[in-house]
Amino acid sequence: MSIRQKRISQDYARLKKLYKEGTIKQLKAFDSQKKSIDHLKILLVGPKGTAFAKGLFRLEMKFPREYPNQPPFVRLHTPIWHPNFWPKPSEYPGQRNICLALVDPNYIGKKGGWSPTKTAVTVVQAITSMLNTAGQYINPTDVFNKKAALEMMKERKKFDKKVKNLVKKYANKKW
């Protein structure tokens, strides 16, 4: 039993609590045959009162070899219109498509970055709160989706409308 296994086990126990409480809608092993909890399928739901409300977002989470010294690998598998997410899940397969310092290996130990005191729950909460875009300031040069960033800052209504359209059309699939 290594520190990695111990942490994965504990983090998974925390995620499962979130699942039992209804905060996350699905939680299961990514590989249904192997059933290993170091690679997970999670289903997030858009926060109430935001343009992403009621949207179901498929999140892949994988605990790397060096966990907890490296952050969990995360990837969204649902199309989304948001400055900090790559919109099309079919592109850049196998890569992290979420722009968040907390899960960026380059920000480990820095402000807003990963540290072993953080958990998988911290990550899930951070990603969910990113969907609450009201009042957020985003630097349009430091994002994955420049177009969405500019729209969000300059044409808010158009942005919200587009978000809602995509949520309605695509953010409705479970794993």
């Binding site: 039993m1 290594s2 520190i3 296994q5 111990k6 994965i8 086990s9 504990q10 998974y12 126990a13 925390r14 499962k16 609590k17 699942y19 039992k20 092993a29 192997k34 059933k35 290993s36 909890i37 170091d38 070899r65 060096e66 010294n69 690998f73 850049y92 196998g94 890569q95």
Partner: protein
């Protein structure tokens, strides 16, 4: 014959003849060996030699486990397979040969992985012997040795060097006392890097990935066309991202055709020392120290200089296996009970649930961590009596449970 047990009724006349020269050793006790049981994990370069030695010595019961089959390249150092067919399971072939070496002993071969080996085999062994070549397997073996408190006589080789180390659980450092992070496997990293290679060798691994994508098969280091494809692809990237020098044919073959070197002479020295230590432990366990006190040190052998070096490995009080904070419980559960009963039993024992967690049971399996279904029975969860289960969800921390099934 001195003070030996030559006339013990446990031994047949034939056996007395066979072991005649052993009886002449001061303090020798053949009966102890006959009544001993050894588990050899890994029947490769070291395992074959140790098994051969222990069989000749007359150790009464030897279990051998290995998930591999025989390859031609094994035959320069794995003597037990000289008569066997290529692709035969090693554990099975070994038993067949060992029966000829010594027909008086019990031999059992298991063609399986460590995880699938019935845990009772670990528990029944007097000494566990490591002849492994994988770090993961070693960590799993350490887990079994520590939880069943068995001495683990381990050995390893590298070129003209090697080492021997016996783990005495709770007496000296175990393999988890000072874990080292796996240096980022270059291949793994290459798989997750799409875009800029971060190391020179990534250029080559990206080339193998491109090869596999294009031809739907892995490149064959023996095929010059395959190698040339890799070289030109890799060197393209080397130029582009400034990782000179360029790769040569020799270098590419060395990297992709990675097998550890192995030679009978070094293997024989390490295996012999392991074997002698096993003898000492078996006797020492039964109160006979005439063969010497078993060594607790990490012994390094340099086959070039014929020098030995000795390191004392200190225990780590925070060790996740043998440290002071490790919680272990043994629970009896009925075969028809849902595993939820484990959580309930621990609550009854006084453990308190952590409110931020949902209790979960997991089983470590080679490289993964499998979750168990609390609503199903042990058998339905594919675990058996004496299986090792890890539990998260209590305030006291991780709890290691050994379950015992009964009707």
């Amino acid at each position: 014959m001195g003070e030996s047990d030559f006339f013990s009724k446990d031994l047949t006349a034939k056996e007395r003849q066979l072991y005649d020269r052993q009886f002449r050793l001061k303090g020798w006790n053949q009966r102890i060996l006959k009544n001993s049981r050894i588990l050899i994990v890994g029947v490769g370069g070291l395992g074959c030699e140790i098994a051969k030695n222990l069989a000749m010595l007359g150790v009464g019961h030897i279990d051998l486990v290995d998930l591999d089959v025989i390859e031609h390249s094994n035959l320069n150092r794995q003597i037990l397979f000289m008569d066997a067919d290529i692709a035969k399971p090693k554990a099975i072939a070994a038993v067949e040969m060992l029966k000829k070496v010594n027909p008086n002993i019990i031999l059992k071969g298991y063609h399986t992985s460590l995880e699938k080996l019935p845990p009772v085999i670990f528990k029944k062994a007097d000494v566990i012997v490591g002849g492994l070549d994988s770090k993961n397997a070693r960590i799993n073996l350490n887990l079994q040795a520590v939880r069943f408190k068995k001495p683990l006589v381990d050995g390893g080789v590298n070129g003209y060097h090697g080492h021997i180390y016996t783990i005495f659980p709770y007496e000296n450092a175990c393999y988890d006392c000072h874990p080292t992070s796996s240096t980022e496997s270059d291949e793994m990293a290459a798989c997750t890097v799409v875009g800029v290679p971060r190391k020179r060798v990534h250029c080559l691994f990206k080339a193998t990935m491109a090869f596999e994508e294009k031809f739907s098969t892995v490149p064959n280091p023996g095929n010059i066309d395959d190698v040339n494809f890799l070289i030109s692809f890799a060197n393209n990237l080397v130029d582009k991202f400034n990782f000179n020098p360029q790769f040569t044919v020799k270098e590419v073959i060395n990297i992709i055709d990675h097998h550890e070197p192995g030679i009978i002479t070094i293997n024989a020295v390490i295996a012999s020392i392991q074997s002698q230590e096993i003898l000492k432990i078996l006797n020492y366990q039964k109160g006979n120290s005439a063969l010497g006190i078993p060594s607790k040190e990490y012994i390094i052998y340099n086959g070039m200089t014929q020098k030995f070096y000795y390191l004392t490995k200190p225990r780590n009080p925070e060790c996740l296996q043998c440290g002071k904070n490790v919680i272990r419980e043994e629970l009896y559960i009925r075969k028809d009970q849902k595993l939820q009963c484990i959580i309930d039993a621990l609550k009854m024992k006084g453990y308190k649930l952590d409110e931020e967690m949902e209790p979960i049971l997991t089983v470590p399996e080679f490289d993964s961590l499998r979750e168990l279904d609390l609503e199903k029975t042990a058998i339905a969860n594919k675990i058996r009596s004496l299986s090792f289960i890890s539990l998260s969800g209590f305030q006291e921390g991780e709890i290691f449970v050994t379950i015992r099934l009964f009707k």
